[in-house]
């Protein structure tokens, strides 16, 4: 038992040490301590009911901030995919459909998901769109409410 414990401790320390060392040199390395996430302000959020009203009126653009594979697996009907991690690649196509006054609803999935938050910031700062709001935990809320959804990749 003592020997097993000693081996276990050595193995864990060795793994942790290699991990820390590799992370220091890895191009995609991350800081040892996670910076706190910026909080979403209340005025940046759109409640589900209001989002549905805008969807019914057909006046707002719905943008899905998730990766293309997640979008293809299922998304809010008539929404477009603007994966925040490939913003530069997808944005020009979206920009052609949007005007500075467009009402835009961005969403991703999960309470903790901050892709939509990042997308909102990018759209405001890089695109100059001022009417962007986040439908927090959007995909789950929308789907659970039984509102229209569809699947398939962005054409």
């Amino acid at each position: 038992m003592r020997r097993a414990l000693l081996q276990a401790v050595i193995l864990m320390l060795a793994g942790a040490a290699i991990g820390l060392l590799v992370n220091a040199f890895l191009q995609k390395g991350i800081p040892l301590i996670r910076p706190p996430k910026p909080q979403l302000r209340d005025q940046d959020r759109i409640p589900l009911a209001e989002a549905k009203e805008l969807w019914d009126l057909g006046t707002a653009f719905f943008l899905d901030a998730r990766a293309p594979a997640d979008y293809a697996a299922g998304h809010i009907a008539l929404s477009h995919n603007l994966p925040v991690e490939q913003f530069d690649q997808y944005f020009p196509k979206m920009a052609a459909m949007l005007s500075p006054d467009s009402e835009i609803v961005v969403y991703c999935d999960g309470e903790q998901c901050d892709l939509s938050h990042s997308l909102m910031t990018l759209l405001r700062e890089r695109g100059g769109y001022n009417h962007v709001r986040v439908l927090a935990n959007g995909w789950t809320l929308w789907r659970n409410a039984g509102f229209p959804t569809e699947s398939g990749a962005e054409p």
Binding site: A4, M12, G15, T140
Partner: protein, 158 residues
């Protein structure tokens, strides 16, 4: 125990080692090169204080890889089986609490390779791995104990 049973036992142990160790190496390696994504997955479990999330995301894949390799190669079996059993226990608690709390999250167990949300199947798979790892640990400890006794009696004989 006759020779045939012993052979069979050894074969099962060998296969269990390959399976458990192999899965750990695989699970570790696929997460190594995208620590940011894995940190997200770890954070989603909402189990660790945020100061520890990145440390876990940086070190855990390598610990998995190292113990997996050691187990497949078959040395330090008591130690590697103990780490894997312990880790599987921790994973079970993490997944179990997430399912109980209704967190709609990805497992993150195999990085982004395993698409979709985790469910009871994830838990069942991990229970299987936990049992296998615990069995390997117990077997290795017994073997180790026997060897100790043999050495002692050999010494006494001299």
């Amino acid at each position: 125990m006759n020779a045939r049973q012993q052979m069979f036992g050894r074969l099962v142990k060998f296969l269990a080692r390959l399976l458990v160790g192999g899965i750990f190496v695989y699970a570790g390696v696929v997460k190594i090169f995208d620590p940011a994504q894995f940190a997200e997955d770890v954070a989603n479990y909402r189990l660790l204080p945020s100061v520890l999330v990145n440390f876990m995301a940086i070190t855990l894949p390598w610990v998995e890889t190292v113990v997996g390799i050691v187990m497949v190669m078959g040395f330090w079996l008591p130690g590697s089986a103990l780490v894997i059993t312990g880790l599987m226990g921790v994973f079970l608690v993490a997944i179990g609490q997430a399912l109980v709390r209704g967190l709609d999250i990805q497992c993150g167990c195999f990085g982004t390779i395993e698409a979709g949300k985790m469910d009871a199947m994830t838990l069942a798979r991990d229970v299987g791995l936990f049992i296998l790892a615990a069995w390997l640990y117990l077997r290795a400890s017994v073997a180790e104990g026997n060897r100790g006794k043999k050495n002692e009696s050999a010494k006494r004989g001299n």
